[in-house]
Amino acid sequence: MSTAAIVMLIISILTVWGGLGLALVNLQRHPEDDTRMPEEHAPEL
């Protein structure tokens, strides 16, 4: 493999999987609020 191809392979993996990693960290920092169950806010239930 050429150097340019290896560099682009690494950049592609880092940006996309890095993006997934960041998205997962963001989600973990905002846990689901179990105190707000649907019936509290959904009058139809």
Binding site: M1, L27, E32, P43
Partner: protein, 523 residues
């Protein structure tokens, strides 16, 4: 939940709307829907033909500027108005109901042929053990397996090799859907998605150890920076992101409608979008490592054996690779198994759009609606596609409904919501109220200005190309009826369905499920 005292004292008239138990289940189901056949057999080729390694730049730009913003738009409509696509759009504004029916009609057509490809992949998983295609995979696929007729028309000459697995696919998918949102769709995704990931990871590792794999990756990742000045490359990136994320399809509207009131929509959406792209990159590596091996054994250049992806890659190129590779049967089971699982979770989501719409419209229970929708759907699919003429029908329908239908629907949706109904501030505000990452003016610009420009450009270029060049070597009448005709028919059907009044039993008469305002949320 029905045992809980009703907040207003009166017992609920009907069971409450189904819901995901946690947002994790929703995220898995949304990833299961987004990760489909296109991730495995479309992305690697789009990247290869549009700048190789340099393609990652327009790809990421398209993901962030159109894919994710449009995904949030779908989430906003479904979550705020808590209904199937037609009902959610109707609640947004009654004039928008037709958009929902248009999406339902598109899902109807796609589901009847998508199931067929899963049936083929299932059979090829079995064929992998014996390498049933011998030394002529193309002749086997078109001749012995599909028995493709030379006549391009609609026939009823059934092929048992396809008919039997297709009946099984329909039986399984309808059983999952009849079990409901959480117990059926949620559970299927909790099982199949990790299984798909593990199988595909093993496939990638196995492919990487094949001789010639490095040449394949070299062909895929060597950047052609000149491609970045080509508008066609940018259009390809936006097209890939658009098709891959399943936006403007009714699926994400429907899935988001089953979320709890207070759910981090943007946080979940970023995970879904990047997981989908992460799988695409993985597929690119796996597929091109295998294609590199194919070139190595043929003593040819990667470009000469790469082909064009799609059905040709899966059912002609891959069998060739399986025959030559060490542990070929394992490679075959992993590849075709991945297609089956990726396709199955996507098929579930496509049919759920229809079931959910009919359920809301008729006010019936889940099981009854599944059979009312599923049996006719399965019968049409079984009647038209496992025949000697099924391949041509599948080819034309896919090229037109998938390309024009979805693209046109997306374009009309963003234009109407932005300029005619002016609902973007309301929808963006709703998402911001419940989410970790807020949507402001930037999101409205991306959805209301950039997306229509890009979608319009891709749609018009495709339209000109198809009008000037026709479609393959198909007869004009066949393309006219099942290609162009189908695209127009779907719009007419959508308009007619939106004129049918909602009965007193329908979900339209449930209390108006407006978004909780800030006061309510902070209680």
């Amino acid at each position: 939940m029905s045992n809980l005292p009703h907040p207003k004292g009166a017992p609920p008239a009907k069971p409450p709307r189904e819901m995901w138990s946690t947002r994790k289940v929703f995220i898995l189901a949304a990833i299961g829907s987004a990760v489909g056949l296109g991730n495995i057999w479309r992305f690697p080729y789009v990247a290869y033909e549009n700048g190789g390694g340099a393609f990652i730049i327009p790809y990421l730009v398209a993901l962030l500027t159109a894919g994710i913003p449009l995904l949030f738009l779908d989430y906003a409509v479904g979550h705020r108005h808590r209904g199937s696509a037609p009902l959610a759009y109707r609640r947004l504004t009654p004039k928008a109901e037709g958009l929902g029916w248009w999406q339902v009609a598109i899902c109807f057509i796609i589901s009847i042929y998508y199931a067929v490809i899963i049936a083929w992949a299932g059979m090829y998983m079995i064929f992998s053990f014996t390498e049933a295609w011998g030394d002529d995979p193309q002749g086997f696929f078109l001749g012995e397996f599909l028995e493709v007729s030379e006549n391009v028309n609609i026939g009823f000459d059934f092929v048992p090799n396809v008919l039997i697995p297709l009946v099984i696919v329909w039986a399984l998918v309808l059983l999952v859907l009849a079990a409901g949102v959480q117990k059926g769709i949620g559970r299927a995704n909790i099982i199949f998605l990790p299984l798909l990931l593990v199988m595909f990871l093993i496939l990638v590792v196995q492919s990487l150890f094949l001789p010639g794999a490095a040449d394949g990756l070299d062909a895929l990742f060597t950047p052609d920076w000149g491609a970045l000045t080509n508008t066609g490359v940018w259009a390809a990136a936006y097209g890939q992101i658009f098709f891959s994320l399943s936006v403007a399809f009714g699926i994400m509207v429907t899935y988001a409608s089953y979320l709890k009131r207070k759910t981090d929509l943007t946080g979940s959406g970023f995970v879904v979008a990047f997981a989908n792209s992460g799988f695409e990159i993985l597929a690119g590596i796996g597929v091109f490592a295998a294609v590199g091996f194919m070139a190595f054994t043929a003593g040819a250049e990667v470009g000469d054996v790469a082909g064009a992806g799609g059905i040709g890659l899966a059912f002609i190129a891959f069998p060739t690779i399986i025959s030559e590779a060490p542990l070929g049967a394992l490679l075959g089971v992993l590849f075709f198994g991945s297609l089956v699982f990726a396709g199955f979770t996507s098929l579930i989501s496509i049919i759920e759009v229809i079931i959910s719409a009919v359920q809301d419209k008729l006010g019936m229970g889940r099981v009854k609606t599944t059979w009312i929708v599923g049996i006719p759907l399965a019968l049409i699919s079984i009647l038209l596609f496992p025949t000697t003429t099924g391949l041509n029908l599948l080819d034309v329908t896919d090229a037109f409904v998938n390309n024009f239908g979805i693209m046109a629907c997306a374009l009309v949706t963003v234009l109407l919501l932005t300029y005619a109904f002016r609902k973007l501030p309301l929808l963006g505000g709703h998402v911001s109220d419940v989410s970790s990452i807020k949507l402001g003016l930037g999101w409205r610009i991306l959805v209301g200005i950039l997306s229509p420009i890009v979608l319009g450009y891709i749609l018009i270029s495709e339209l000109i190309k198809k009008i000037q060049e026709g479609y393959g070597e198909m007869p004009t009448w066949f393309v006219g009826v099942f290609g162009w005709g189908m695209v127009v028919a779907l719009i007419v059907v959508a308009l007619v369905l939106s004129l049918i009044p909602w009965s007193s039993k329908s979900a339209a008469n449930d209390p108006v499920l407006d978004a909780p305002n800030k006061k309510e949320v902070s209680k």
